[in-house]
């Protein structure tokens, strides 16, 4: 009896163990604080939020540090980031950027690549999802996404040239390069094919989204640089595309140039397509941190201490006439706190003739290693409101009507020569708006300079310098360089490492 009882216990216990073992071998992961494809895309709102994933990638490319914007601007004659003694050496990445001595390992290049391709990828994914959905209205979304994708590709093609062309979400093999021509063709055909499905509404519900006018502006700029991209000029197409915008009557030049760049610039009649920024909802536009002196904090009552990095080149600053209203895009000379007192920089170098009273001098004593802390004029084209955070409210114009006017003028001059009367009238619209007397005539050099003054900070200067054949020239703190090889940036090393099918650009 005793024995049976014992064996009975063993049996029951063994049975229990087996039971527990079977019921407790479930190893599926339970998610609580994140979403997977399994528990997402259930509602319209969730699909729209996925569309947002495609747009939010814009934010990493316009107006922030160490990405696409820095790539376009510091390599041009608009900006430089000198090494200010102990600050801003950062392994020489900004010195090389400005001197056109960059290598494929520069982090700003890889960041640029990553953020632009994340936009491409998000578009591919959402296009795929909307296509599968096949509901009413999804065609319009797909057209919008295809043009947005073309915008990302436009920038990739502009910066890196021979980038892989991936247009589908379900690719599994790492893609190889496509030629710059192929990418160009893709952009052109995508925009052209989808332009008529885009809304022609501007502002309101369409604000900050791709519309028909964005597509025309994209094509305007694409054709403007077509000769650089493909070897074949498309000047008359520039005019056609620009005219589509100009003749629509949808846009007009703002009387006040800075209305396009104010903290509340969403009502600008001139901005065609913007990246919408907001200090609360959509951060990332932190140019005041990048450019202002540490103590400019007291000028603008900022809620953070700026980094004292980016400044403009003396010769670029001095290309503005004294009475050019656009010259107010710069902070120069003595600096005052919001209470009217002088801003003091107790860290000023002994060698600084201005002493501790903060004074931004157009002249920059040297590029490195000991640029003075106060050297260089600073950018204030985008308004900094009192109490600004590191995330500005100002929306960043990616396409602007003023640029379209100048593009059309340039195309006319390219076709008809410097004496083209219509071109002169167009340029004078821009020139006069800046408070300046009209040009009686205009040369290509003057056009380039005027484009520089008008489009400062809007990430087109590099394209302009290349198109006007000035890219290899010498300018402040940049020696003459190979204007051919360096028209393209190299494919970033981490991308080559991660994708064995990629080939480096020629000359790198």
């Amino acid at each position: 009896m005793q024995k049976i009882l014992k064996h009975g216990k063993i049996f029951i216990l063994s049975f229990l163990m087996l039971g527990v073992y079977n019921s407790c071998t479930d190893l599926d992961e339970e998610v609580f604080d994140r979403v997977t494809a399994d528990n997402f895309f259930q509602s319209d709102e969730e699909f729209i939020s996925a569309l947002g994933g495609a747009y939010s990638a814009l934010g990493n490319n316009w107006g922030g540090h160490n990405g696409t914007w820095s790539t376009q601007e510091v390599s041009s004659d608009e900006f430089m980031v000198p090494q200010r003694g102990q600050d801003w050496f950062d392994g020489g990445i900004w010195l090389r950027c400005h001197r056109h001595e960059w290598t494929p390992t520069e982090p700003w290049l890889n960041n640029s690549w990553n953020s632009l391709f994340s936009g491409v990828n998000a578009c591919n994914r959402v296009i795929d999802q909307f296509s599968a959905l096949n509901v009413e209205g999804s065609d319009a979304f797909i057209a919008e996404l295809k043009v947005l994708r073309a915008l990302f590709y436009f920038n990739l093609m502009d910066i890196f040239g021979n980038v892989p062309l991936v247009t589908s979400f379900d690719v599994t093999e790492p893609p190889g390069n496509s030629s710059r021509q192929e990418v160009y063709n893709f952009i052109e055909s995508e925009v052209t094919a989808n332009i008529n499905q885009l809304t022609d509404q501007n502002g309101g519900a369409a604000y900050g989204r791709i519309n028909k006018w964005t597509a025309h502006a994209m094509l305007t700029r694409l054709y403007l640089n077509a000769e650089v991209y493909t070897g074949t000029a498309r000047w008359s197409d520039v005019i056609t595309q620009a005219d589509a915008i100009i003749n629509s009557g949808t846009f007009s030049l703002e009387g006040n140039y800075f209305a396009n760049f104010n903290a509340d610039n969403s009502g600008s009649a001139e901005n065609i397509f913007v990246k919408v920024y907001d200090r609360v909802f959509s951060g990332g536009f932190n140019i005041p941190a990048m450019t202002l002196h540490y103590n400019s904090q007291f000028t603008f009552d900022l809620t953070f201490q700026p980094w004292n990095g980016y400044c403009s080149l003396q010769e670029f600053y001095e290309s503005y006439a004294d009475d050019d209203v656009r010259r107010q895009s710069f902070l120069a000379g003595p600096q005052f706190a919001s209470d009217g007192s002088r801003v003091i920089d107790n860290g000023a170098e002994e060698a600084d003739p201005d002493g501790p009273e903060l004074t931004f001098t157009p002249e920059i004593n040297e590029h490195f290693p000991n640029a003075l802390r106060q050297a260089g004029v600073r950018a204030v084209k985008f308004q900094y409101t009192p109490g600004a955070t590191q995330n500005l409210d100002n929306d960043f114009p990616i396409y602007r009507y003023g640029d379209v006017i100048l593009a059309k003028a340039e195309a006319l001059m390219r076709l008809n020569g410097e004496g083209d009367g219509e071109a002169l009238a167009l340029v004078n619209q821009i020139h006069e708006r800046a408070g300046l007397a009209s040009y009686a005539s205009i040369t290509f050099d003057e056009l380039l300079a005027e484009r520089g003054r008008e489009m400062f900070m809007e990430a087109v200067r590099r394209q302009d310098l290349i198109r006007f054949g000035k890219w290899g020239d010498e300018w402040d703190f940049k020696p003459a360089s190979d204007g051919e090889v360096r028209k393209l940036f190299p494919i970033p090393t981490p991308q080559l490492d991660a994708n064995k099918n990629l080939v480096q650009n020629p000359g790198y």
Partner: protein, 984 residues
Amino acid sequence: MRMKLNYYCKQVSLRISTVLMGILLMSTMALAQRSVTGTVTDAGSGDAIPGVAVLIKGTTVGAYTDENGQYSLSAPSEATVLVFSYYGYETMEKDISGLDVVDAALAESVGTLDEVVVTGYTTQREEEKTSAIVSVRSDDFNQGNINNPAQLIQGKVAGVTISRPGGNPNQEFNIRLRGLGTIGANRSPLVIIDGVLNADINTVDPNDIASFDILKDASAAAIYGTQAASGVIIITTKKGVPGSTSVDYNGFVTIDYIDQTTEVLGRDEFLSFPGTQDFGSDTDWIGELTRTGNTQVHNVSMSGGSNSTTYRASVNFRDVEGIALKTGFEQLNGRLNLQQKAINDKLTINLNITTTLRNSELGNNGAFRYATIYNPTAPVRSDAPEFERWGGYFQQDLFDFFNPVALLEQNTNEGNFTRVLGDVNAKFEVVPGLILSGRYSQQRTNEIFANYTSKQSRGTGADRNGLASRNTNQFVNQLAEISVSYETEFGDLDFSVLGGYSYQQFDNEGFGAQGGDFLTDAFSFNNLSAGADFNNGLGSIFSYANRNKLIAGFGRVELGYQDTYYLSAVVRQEGSTRFGEDNKWGTFPGFSAGIILSNLFEVPGIDYLKIRGGYGETGAQPAASYLSLFTLAPGGNFFFNGAFTPAYGPNQNPNPDLRWETKQDVSIGLDFNMLNYRLNGSIDYFNTTTVDAILPLNVPVPPNQAPITFTNIGEISQSGLEISLGYKIFDNANFSWESSVAFTYLIDNTLDVFNGEGTVFRSNLGSPGQNGTPLLLIEEGKPIGQLYGLVFEGIAADGTWIHKDSDGDGTPGEDEDREVIGQALNDWQLGWNNTFRFGDFDVNFLLRGVFGHDLINTFRAFYEAPSSMTTYNAPATVTDVRNLTDAPIFSSYHVEDGDFIKLDNITFGYTVPVDGIDWMKRLRVYVTGQNLFTITDYSGVDPEVRLEDNPNNAGIGDPLAPGIDRRNTYFRQAGVTFGVNLGL
């Protein structure tokens, strides 16, 4: 005295023998009886020994001695011989024919081989072990200002590196066993406390620990599967002993003072450099930031019990003051260990409960950086009106330059921790040798972090007009295990087998909010809604929750033949939710064998010689949950139809193949005793390869969704040699000297495969100005921790750096000229412990040395240049580069040899004779000095090896970027402790 301290550690095996004895006692009730009493003492000291098992030979009648060493038993009338046995003593037999009173004086056993080691799920005698398992008992623990269990064995165990650079009392120790074997979640050993897997080492107070058993190789650790790749540390707490009631008090006070900082220039030297600013004062910033740290620790415990119930209850109070202002903690810990037997002693139930409440002042580690580089001519405070806005603290509007005293005094940074561990387990002996066991335990950790930065603050959180944050975390670990074991003998063959099932579930969740713009500082962090940021959309809030599970079956077979040949095999099949859906289960086997050669043939001068060896596989899990899943996350907002709409996008690529890392370990070892057991030692060699190491791999986008995929790609190899020696140089009644050495040589710790890219730069010097400066080179097939940079050759006449033109292209100082300029991880490590006893006096000291590692002195890399002195003070070594005009550029000049030898602690103790005091059993007073001297060439704060970069308070950082002495290292401290141990 040794036996009393030893006393507790024997309990694991004592418990087993108690079970057996209880069974035997039950079956012999019916015979004719007589009474025998007596006292058992230590033959050397004459002290009574409690807890000695007294058995009538040839029968199963027995008793234990009580706290006075006395026993009383009823013996059958025909009984003739009593057997007295106690661990650590020679077993003695005594004739009791015709005697009613039988006293015994036991001699300490010369060998230590009957000591018990705790292996996975079971115990073994030292002699039976076949793996590299090292035990450290409480009488060998370090003494002094010890507030973390890891400190008890620092320097004591070959192969174990325990490191905490600086003296931050709130920072955890980083524990590494045999180098870096995984980059995954478990880089530190698995901690098991009284059988509870994955226990938090902070749930046990150092005063309550009886022993550490460290499973160094995989042949033993494989039974813990995916959690054991970095070895296993098993902690056994002190337990009650039947028949012996005791009340103990242990307490100490410590006075800590600043030991080492980076030496900086004083006022006059500073002003001798051009461009420096004189603010008119003379301030020792490091002195302003520090104080004498007063620590007090009190422990009261009581224990005792009967044959059926034993208990030990303990209360620990710790009030620890760091040497930096506003750092330290108060901790109250309580523990109850209760054991109850039932059903004729066949059923044993253990209940262990512990609660730890800690309130910490966490300070601000940034203060150490600014104290080191702040202008020595600046005053701490000023009445000038311009400083009113900073609350009267002197401040300057310079980049990255904050008054360190203000940083600490104006900010509140607190942590509140509650840790509860409850464990109930039961064993039932179905038939002799067959035991069923079950356990359920739950460990619950609650953390509340609270932080407030004043409206008048500059620096961290400044410009926010007051900034408050509160974060909470809750971690709940549950463990359920059942197992069956059977143990028997077939003639000369001892056989035991174990099988079981284990279920672990980990639930983590947390919540936090941060916001600023307060009208007043009065709320501190207690009223977040008063911050206007929350109304303006500028406050931030987060919460998270995740769960993971580990499920396993495990087994072990052990064979012993003629007490000479031993074999052991273990296996664990374990699944983790963290693995990809196609690879949920891994199998981890281990085999080992040992032969006691000295039983087979005589070797002159050698008393005992065993060779053992084994192979095992252990694993490592991914470092976080959900790494194998495709997930989407909110990524900002976009403007849609006139309103901001959250944007969701993929943030992680799926990897359904994600699986465990496997560490393959071959170990051999030799244990020996010589010179009549006066010299004992072990030599261990290991060679391991970790395959399928989980690493974040850069992948192209597209086709991938995110640029990182966690992939089983890495391979790491390690090999090393460990030698432990102990020698009783003198062993007389009045004088003894024991010396022991733990020596570690890590021959190889190589990252064979990283990501297939060949070379990758790692880590970054940082702001100001050196953001693009990598500090390490990861190179496949090369050691982990290659420091990397330009090679310094001198300073030119014009004050510019001369760096080596390594690539010979005529332009030195380019990125291409960088070379490997140092090795971050140590290869040699030595602990030398000595214990002297002169009568009632004892002296113990531990010298610890770590050799072969280099350190990047980041203070020097950033500030050791006259050109930066317009703002910052510089390390005193700046006088060597007085002519330098260049800005700082990191090079081999800033890499220093980290070798050191340190007197970790030295203790003088006196045991007060208490023979005449009947209520007192024991009284010892001692004084300990910690860190009294360090011999090193390193000029920074602490030459201790930096195992990981930017570690958080839990010591977790980047393991592939060791060797960087960051600017936030807490100053090193030294101290003197006065303590008392009282036994009633």
